[in-house]
Subunit: 115 residues, 4 copies
């Protein structure tokens, strides 16, 4: 099992590499070829599936199904970043900045970083 | 600047810690108190805002605005994970598994992991 | 050309009739058979496509494409109503009630109804 | 109680009239002033709320709550039509056309129109 960093960096590197691949060789490559709207449509779809999977937890749905849909949603946001030539750390830095900016969550975030 | 891993682990640890905080002390704590529907509603909203920010790139919108909305979307998916007591690595492991399973993206993923 | 009423009532009557049709004979019948999640997923998808089509107006997209996506969205909300055995007028009555309730829009709504 | 036609035409006429109203006098007028993105964001939000309300039917949610969210969704699609100066019949004609075009649903639609 890789650390979260390894996984995200590795997956993102793969997705960036797929930008120069032939569309028929990779799902990600086929999305880049179709263009941003195809990627954005998938983000809309996967967000809807996250909602449904979460609500289905109350009626026999599994955590695995919810995690599956969340992974699909993250996957397509990473494809979007790559499509616009944005680096992964632009996203994680923004998450970092908002921990600092929020005020409310700032102290706990710092505490978590100190040990 | 932290690594993506540091940021995500630190933010997630903060969000988990917020589960026992008073709702008025933290935005995340207020979401947990409102319940899953409030979190899911935000995921739906933020997905819509990602779509709009991406389309606005074609007309003067900035990469910063898109990254801002993507960070909002990831933030709320992390709150959802925490709300359901799911660990962060359940999500990253699923992303890892799908690199291996997809067939199409598998080879590049392995190559990226070899160095 | 039918009036909006004729069209909606006729379409809704068709969709209700499709509840007892074999799934392979009709798109609506296939959705009922798949169950509410399939219909809800389509509503999420079509909402995303409305957003994209509206934003594409700013870059060469046509009104026809936007109207097409809006019609898809309305179509699937009508399928949802039928799936839950709710009458069409439950929706239009709610729209009517909110004109009366809103305060802000009430006067114009009444004026429009008086002539 | 008005017919569905009366309600939709009356509501739509109201919403069109609100295009020249001061933003502080009407919710719809405030949306026009904020611009298309504000309307589109609401469509994304309301679609998410339809999903949640429908899933909540399985756990004590009411038909009234679902109908309420569907009415919110239709309301904002009508605001969008008005914002782009599109007539209501462009939407209902498209719904009509697709009944005719679908093949599968065509016969029942015609039958419903014959009596």
């Amino acid at each position: 099992m890789s650390s979260p960093q390894d996984t995200l960096l590795q997956l993102f590197a793969t997705l960036v590499a797929r930008k120069s691949a032939a569309p028929e060789t990779s799902y990600a490559a086929s999305l880049y070829t179709k263009g941003p709207d195809a990627i954005l449509k998938k983000i809309g779809e996967e967000a809807a599936e996250v909602l449904l999977a979460a609500k289905n937890l109350e009626r026999g749905g599994t955590h695995g199904e919810l995690v599956h849909e969340l992974a699909d949603l993250w996957f397509h946001t990473l494809v979007l970043l790559a499509a616009y030539d944005l680096p992964l750390h632009s996203l994680t830095q923004e998450l970092e900045r908002r921990m600092g900016r929020s005020g409310l969550d700032e102290k706990a975030a710092r505490a978590a970083g100190e040990h």
